[in-house]
Symmetry: none
Subunit: 232 residues, 2 copies
DNA sequence: TCCTATTGTGACATTTGCGTGACGAGCCTT
DNA sequence: AAGGCTCGTCACGCAAATGTCACAATAGGA
């Protein structure tokens, strides 16, 4: 489920180090941004909206700690996970770093493997999914927490894509969506697939729902599809 | 928000430090026990049953690491969360500490705020529910007190990790968990392990459960796993 | 009614995700 | 030191899931 690889912003004043880290992370499937100082970092954050920040302790101008503190203070960036990088021998500052709002702390030199591992752990913690209530429509129930679909209590077996499709429909009832919109919302923006693929998945979903509920997914000829309890 | 304040055992040979920590924790609503050495600590654990342990790295006689390892080995105390305390400059030993079974690790000097924060985090993920009643699901029984699993009365032999995994599943039925979530909940947040490792342990657990019960652990394609009595 | 644009449907090759056995490292007991 | 145990990782293979196509079915306008 490699949605889109998460984006990591690397802030360090030494280009070779940035590069090294970037290579390691890209091999692990992350997208990397780089910044040599606080100004660049700030621009990147606003512009590219990374999912987390690798922040060197020592920076020209504003120090890393200060920058971290600033980010945590701003609403817009308060939730951004930060991992502080520090050279060995600066361990005194660990407490400061963590208090400033860093989510983890790693000492140079470090192995790429360790870096990636910590990164994963931090990302894992900081991305809780929204509160998800079961949705029920005329006997058809989708429970996001259990990741399960049932019709009058009986489990229905569908693939991941059909699940996402159904979830989208059930949270957006009564409205017609074009194939392009569905691809955007269910498949995710930057994927190239034929629009007719939507038809196939609609079919699979209808089949899985069975005669009792397939009517909920209505064809809007010339436009797309709609999920509705009312007959068309 | 939860029941009564948790009890924390502070193990350190320097009385002033114990005192300082105790004051900080009591202000945060915890009850504190103190021990200057391993013998005292052991007595306190048996006698007062603390909910977690703050363990200094350096101790007269048996070292903190060794003590931690011993606690993790004994069934009776294996689940007790431990936070190791260490003076600055001993960071090399961090890995040793964590591997010995410590759930977290904190370097002196530290701020009371940091200590309390880590303590909360560790407690949160180690004992969501305090007293441990046996859990039984369709003939499969897990008894936390005896640290034993039986299927229709016949004992099942599984390793510690599989035990924790099963315990987590049985206390969190029906809900689907991603591999990342399982790593967090079962392995502990500060451990860096491949996600696929979860698969392997799932397999080992299923195998141990046998045909009669392996169906309880269901694969949720593209998402993770789920423990449920209902068929998928 | 016929025609055409649009959608339904089954089949197919490819991709992806998971199950599985094996292996080596570390720890504990002997 | 040796042997057993548990653990994390890897590589391989299978099966589900996916995207695409070709063709059938359908609707709606002329």
């Amino acid at each position: 489920m490699t949605k889109a690889g998460k984006t990591v912003l690397i802030v360090d004043d030494e280009a070779p180090i940035r590069e090294m880290i970037a290579v390691a992370l890209e091999m692990a499937g992350y997208e990397c941004l780089e910044a040599a100082n606080v100004q660049e970092a700030h621009a990147q954050i606003i512009d590219r909206k990374p999912d987390m920040i690798l922040l060197d302790w020592m920076l020209p101008g504003t120090s890393g700690v200060e920058f971290a503190r600033r980010l945590k203070r701003e609403d817009r960036t308060a939730e951004l996970p930060i991992i502080m990088l520090t050279a060995k021998g600066e361990e005194d500052n660990k407490v400061q770093g963590l208090e400033a709002g860093a989510d983890d702390y790693i000492t140079k030199p470090f192995s790429p493997r360790e870096l990636v591992a910590r990164l994963k752990a931090v990302l894992r913690r900081s991305t809780p999914q929204g509160i998800e209530e079961p949705i029920e429509v005329s006997g058809l129930m989708l429970d996001p927490v259990c990741h399960r679909v049932t019709a009058h209590g009986d489990p229905i077996d569908i693939g991941p894509t059909e699940y996402r499709l159904l979830q989208f429909f059930m949270t957006h009832q009564e409205r017609a969506y074009s194939r392009a919109q569905l691809l955007d919302q269910v498949w995710g923006g930057n994927v190239y697939v034929e629009e007719r693929t939507v038809d196939v998945h609609i079919r699979r979903l209808r089949k899985a729902l069975g005669e009792s509920h397939e009517q909920l997914i209505q064809t809007v000829r010339g436009t797309g599809y709609r999920f509705s309890t009312k007959a068309s």
